[in-house]
Structure formats: structure tokens, C-alpha cells
């Protein structure tokens, strides 16, 4: 007689599991109970078992069960945002010297940046410079001196 009891316990456990699922998908308790009873009856008949524990429970008498559903609260965290203007290429050394048309105040400003978001290894000519100026044999000048260095945790 121990086997039917364990089986009944197992069925009850299954019922609890199904109720959890039903709570999640919004099935009605009535439909669930009827459906579960039918399933239980079929299974009991297949296994030659006939115990009172497989009898359907009237819905009206069924205790109300409050299901506890874990809800994952998704908090939207702003992701790191890109800059309004992507860094622009600035040619260095010989390339800069070859393309440099004329120093503008000796400052880094002489190296006009290309339009934002472009990926080029060549610095654009300074504002106002013409194509002919760009290819002219201007004397080599130094590449722009960086005002800062982006490096990792400079120690001093």
C-alpha cells in the first residue's frame, strides 16, 4: 500500500508544479483542476491503481493557493555613450610633413581633422587650403605636438 501513497504524493507534487506554470501563463484554476484530474485518472487507470487520492477535488472546496512568482526586475542602465564626434585621424611624421601646406601659428590647429566619423590615415588640409596647395612642395614641418597622451595609469 505504500506505493499508491508515494504515487499520490508525486501527483500532488506535479499538481503544484502545473499550478505554478498556470500562474505564469494565466490559465484558470478551474480549467487546470479539471485537466489535471483527467490526466491523473488516465494515468491511474494505466497503472492499475485506484485510490481515493486520484479523485478530482471540487473547485469550490479547493483551498486558495497563492502562487509566488519570482519576477526578474530589469533595470535599464544607460550604456556608455559614444562621443558626439569620433576622434579624427592626424597624420604624423613624414606623412604629416608631406601633406602639410603651411603651418598655422605653429599650433596643432594646422592639422585640420577630417569630418567626424571618418576613418582615414591622412590628415585633411588646413581650412581654406586648396588641392594645389596640398600637393605643392611645401617644406617639411613637424607633426603636431600632442597636448596630452592617453595612456594607462601614468605613474608619477
Amino acid at each position: 500500500m505504500a506505493e499508491p501513497v508515494r504515487q499520490a504524493d508525486r501527483k500532488a507534487g506535479e499538481a503544484r508544479e502545473v499550478r505554478r506554470i498556470s500562474a505564469a501563463v494565466g490559465l484558470s484554476a478551474l480549467g487546470l483542476t479539471c485537466g489535471l484530474s483527467a490526466v491523473t485518472a488516465v494515468q491511474a487507470a494505466d497503472q492499475g491503481s485506484s485510490t481515493a487520492t486520484t479523485q478530482p477535488v471540487p473547485v469550490a472546496a479547493a483551498p486558495r493557493q497563492i502562487e509566488e512568482i519570482d519576477e526578474e526586475v530589469v533595470v535599464q542602465v544607460p550604456a556608455p555613450r559614444p562621443p558626439a564626434h569620433a576622434p579624427a585621424a592626424v597624420a604624423t611624421g613624414g606623412a604629416a610633413a608631406r601633406r602639410q601646406t603651411a603651418p598655422v601659428g605653429g599650433a596643432a590647429a594646422a592639422q585640420a581633422a577630417p569630418a567626424a566619423g571618418t576613418a582615414t590615415s591622412q590628415a585633411a588640409p588646413a581650412a581654406g587650403a586648396t588641392a594645389s596647395q596640398t600637393v605643392s612642395a611645401a617644406p617639411p614641418v613637424a607633426a603636431p605636438k600632442p597636448v596630452a597622451v592617453s595612456t594607462a595609469s601614468k605613474v608619477r
Binding site: P80, R81, V90, A109, P144
Partner: protein
């Protein structure tokens, strides 16, 4: 344009302004911000708010507005990087030997014998913003180094610009974390990207022009030390508590602020092979250098 360099926060500070006459006022403003950050966020000062919070595990500690901002920023960085950048690695950093200003750090020490344990992580930090207080669970120590310096650069640049009445543009670099504010020079701020801090400027470095936001570089090639004969570095993988050993040794990222750039750059080191997709998805212009020296440029980072 005028620039000045000096030592601050255990690193090198650079301030540049487009209006030369505004340099003294800008410098004064930057000095003020850096002093406040040092008092609030230094892990190496016994009297800092951070040290006080770290000592008071398990109890609520009142904090000032700047520390609250720094802590909020650190928690944001952790959330935005899914925990790749986690301020709760302070204890393992201390145990690993990084327990003083880096320039005072000496190699050596006994081999570490650490026992793995569940780390509570950044979600366990309790912040009561309305009452300006924080509580850490027992055993947790914070290190705000990954984000506080970048936040300091952002706030210093903004303060400097305010101090000069918004005239012109300002660049502040703290140990290589760069923040700019105001109107940049024609063509942008010229910034060299280098793996090694000792690399002289103007020497075969990759140079880019920055117009707004921030630029930050994280690397495992610097701030290294040995413990028990094992080489350590300062970027820890919060998932393992050990130095990050992923695909990339250096990551430089441009973002809307230095804080965001720093978080993304540090996350890239920790994320390793996943970093490329993570950065692309966020359209963050980035330059990654692999352990073997291969350079990968992503998301509108200019080709050289």
C-alpha cells in the same frame, strides 16, 4: 593654446586651455577638484572617505556629496559593464600587494595563498542617497580607482571651464584619462595614444584629434608588480579575482565623457574576446592592442 603639467593623485595631470590668459583661473579650479577627490576617494589615505567606508564594513557611514557621486559613478560603471568593472575588488587588490601609492610599491612578498570565496559584488553596496550614507557588507572593500580618476577629469574640465566663464576650451588629463570641455581648438585637441606612459609625445605614436567627451586607455602593460614571483597588474577580473588575462593588453576608447570611456576601456580588457562585439554594439570608437601587438580599430576609430 597653453598647457601645464604637474603631479597629482599619484599620477600626472595636464591642463590645456585655448585662451592662454585663462590658465591661472582654470588651474586653480582643477587643483580644487583634484584635492577634493584625493580626500574623498584615495585608497592610500587613512583619512579619506573611502578608507573610512572600507573600515566600517557592516555599518552605515555618512558620506559627502563628492564621494556619493564617485560611488554612484562606480556603481553605474559596474552595471553598464555587467560587472566587468567592479569597485568591490578593493580587498583583493590590497591583499595582492597593491596597498599603497604605486610609486611606493616594491616587488616581492610571500606567494599569495588565497581561498576562493563568493564575492558579494557591486550589487551588495547599499547606497542611501537621500540620507547621504553607504553601507558595505562585511568583508567588502572598495577601490574606486577605475572610475574616480576619470570622473575627476570630467569634473575638473567642467570646473575649469566654469572658472573661465565658459570662454574657449579646456582639456584635462589625469594619468592618461582625458576629458575636454568647451570649444575645442580648430581641428580638435591633439592627443597621442600610447601603451607605455613613458613614451615621449611626438614619437611615432598614434595621434588623434578629439573634439568632445573623453578618451581613456586601460592597459595591463603598466602598474605591474610581482608577488611571490608572480607578476600582477592592477586590472582584475571581478569574476575570478585575478589579473585579467584576456586577448587585449591595451584598450583606448572615446566616449561622451571620460568616465564612460574609462569604464568601456577597462571592461574591454576584462571582457577579452567579447570586447570587440561589446564596443561595436555601443558604437564606441575604440583602439585595441592584442597581447601580440595586433591593433584593431573599431566603431569609427580612425585608421592610421
Amino acid at each position: 593654446m597653453t598647457a601645464v603639467e604637474w603631479a597629482a593623485l599619484g599620477t600626472e595631470a595636464v591642463l590645456a586651455v585655448t585662451v592662454s590668459e585663462s590658465l591661472p583661473a582654470a588651474r586653480e579650479a582643477v587643483d580644487g577638484v583634484l584635492a577634493e577627490f584625493d580626500v574623498a576617494c584615495s585608497r592610500f589615505r587613512e583619512d579619506s572617505e573611502l578608507s573610512r567606508v572600507n573600515r566600517a564594513q557592516g555599518t552605515w557611514v555618512e558620506i559627502g556629496p563628492l564621494f556619493l557621486r564617485a560611488l554612484t559613478a562606480a556603481r553605474w560603471a559596474a552595471a553598464a559593464t555587467a560587472g566587468a568593472v567592479d569597485p568591490t575588488v578593493g580587498r583583493i587588490l590590497r591583499i595582492s600587494g597593491y596597498d599603497r601609492d604605486f610609486k611606493a610599491l616594491t616587488d616581492g612578498g610571500e606567494p599569495l595563498r588565497l581561498r576562493a570565496a563568493d564575492a558579494p559584488g557591486w550589487r551588495a553596496i547599499e547606497i542611501d542617497a537621500s540620507a547621504s550614507r553607504v553601507r558595505l557588507p562585511p568583508g567588502m572593500e572598495l577601490d574606486l580607482g577605475a572610475s574616480a580618476k576619470a570622473l575627476a577629469a570630467d569634473e575638473a574640465a567642467a570646473a575649469a571651464l566654469r572658472a573661465v566663464g565658459g570662454a574657449g576650451g579646456v582639456l584635462v588629463s589625469l594619468g592618461g584619462d582625458v576629458a575636454v570641455a568647451g570649444e575645442p581648438p580648430a581641428g580638435g585637441w591633439i592627443v597621442q595614444v600610447s601603451e607605455l606612459a613613458e613614451t615621449p609625445t611626438h614619437v611615432d605614436g598614434e595621434i588623434v584629434a578629439v573634439r568632445d567627451g573623453g578618451l581613456a586607455t586601460s592597459s595591463t602593460t603598466v602598474r605591474r608588480w610581482t608577488r611571490g614571483g608572480i607578476e600582477m597588474h592592477h586590472i582584475l577580473d571581478p569574476a575570478t579575482g585575478r589579473p585579467a588575462a584576456g586577448l587585449w593588453r591595451t584598450a583606448t576608447v572615446a566616449a561622451a565623457s571620460c568616465l564612460e570611456a574609462n569604464a568601456a576601456a577597462t571592461a574591454a580588457i576584462v571582457l577579452g574576446e567579447r570586447a570587440g562585439g561589446w564596443l561595436r554594439a555601443r558604437r564606441l570608437p575604440s583602439r585595441l592592442v592584442s597581447r601580440h601587438g595586433m591593433v584593431l580599430r573599431l566603431a569609427a576609430w580612425p585608421a592610421c
